[in-house]
Symmetry: C2
Subunit: 224 residues, 2 copies
DNA sequence: CCCATATTCTATAGTTCTTTAGAATATGGG
DNA sequence: CCCATATTCTAAAGAACTATAGAATATGGG
């Protein structure tokens, strides 16, 4: 056991690293970045056994990355603060930069098109007032109501096929969903393209938009 | 073993986390942030057994955080790029923000004064041309020659006691050394204060200065 | 007060990581 | 070509972490 004099300092730093060293915990953090969840919701949404979800949440809490509150018989977890979300984003960018295997896994999961042709948050921010684009929020309507990209229209993926005629054909459609590795918006883009629309996904979803310090709107919006 | 669909992505992210989960590796990264080193130099400077140093360097290289080059019979390691240094800094800030135990360990290691009364890089940058401060680089002269805060005078800690009369008594002295947890500049500050000087350390040392995107000067500088 | 539900705690098997000894490799000098 | 030096590879013991079963706790309702 190495015992250099700064060991206590680096041991503490390593606690953060260790907490970020588990795929399960990183997944939970990404889900929590979408908003507050109960243990059961997390378990279901992240597709992780309940007991393991609870156990990992204890570790996240011990590292002060999440906080919890009890409401009746449920316990709600959320990210400790907005800085955690930003740091997560930094980790993801940093990792993507240097691990080709990560870029490959993302490409495999989302599809190559979703990665290569994605609109960046900066690009979208610059074109918010451009009449040549329509922004479509393909998450469940409740998520849209809780906060969305300014001007974004809510068309949940499940309804998209039946509501194609609400969308204009002469402009570019930018579709987004929640997390940075969410497959919903790539699926929406594929569906739209199959029907002759010009569509691209938003890189990193709403999470990256928020992490870039971009504002959100709340409340509902009607179709264009 | 959890097997949610995004697992391959998060497994890759976790590789970076895992690499940052060891006190030994974090220490090695901080030493490498000071500049290129051979395995033996690292082992000695970080106070970690040679074989363990080598083993951990393999892992850092596998995660693409460091690169190496062979020169004759030595192998030199360095951080893979400047982004690694910045990310390290972000990790350190992020960890310090939420782990009271880390702040305590730093306080214990450096002394409370060094933490509470340190000059921030921003503050120092704003006062670079202020005639009311003198910046003293207390690292070995060779390190100073390789790069230093603009205007900084080289007075290695070992020589400080004998060169006190070179320093002005009517201005504030800012002393700095290399890494964020380096004890050399706090020691210099204590020595200076004991001799009636007004002195403060630079928070985070030259590492934080560099990570904040501040420029360096190279070459030698004479005493004030 | 007892019950059902949601979550956490305790204990443990299995896995992975760390450390280090000993063997192996690579380089330059004689 | 052989040797000394610096580093890495291989192997193995020990420590730490993950996942999960089973027991325990906390809450609100009847």
């Amino acid at each position: 056991m190495a015992e250099f004099p700064e060991e206590p300092i680096y041991r503490q730093l390593a606690r953060i690293g260790r907490t970020l060293a588990s795929p399960v915990r990183l997944r939970l953090l990404d889900v929590l970045d979408q908003g507050e969840r109960t243990v059961e919701q997390l378990s279901e949404e992240a597709d992780i056994p309940l007991k393991n979800t609870s156990a990992q949440l204890q570790q996240l809490r011990a590292a002060h990355l999440v906080t919890s509150r009890r409401a009746g018989t449920r316990v709600y977890y959320r990210l400790a603060d907005e800085r955690v979300s930003r740091f997560l984003g930094e980790l993801q960018d940093f990792a993507a930069e240097r691990l080709a295997d990560l870029r490959e896994a993302v490409s495999e999961h989302l599809g190559e098109v979703a990665v290569l042709e994605a609109v960046t948050a900066d690009e979208l921010a610059a074109r918010l007032d451009d009449p040549g684009i329509v922004i479509v929020d393909v998450r469940p309507a409740a998520d849209h109501a809780r906060g969305h990209v300014p001007g974004a229209v809510s068309v949940p993926l499940a309804e998209l096929r039946d509501r194609l005629d609400e969308l204009p054909r002469d402009v570019e459609i930018v579709a987004y969903c929640g997390g940075p590795y969410c497959v919903v918006s790539p699926q929406a883009v594929r569906l739209l393209r199959d029907h002759g629309f010009s569509a691209r996904p938003l890189a990193g979803g709403l999470a990256r938009w928020r992490r870039a310090g971009r504002g959100l709107r709340t409340g509902s919006a009607t179709a264009p």
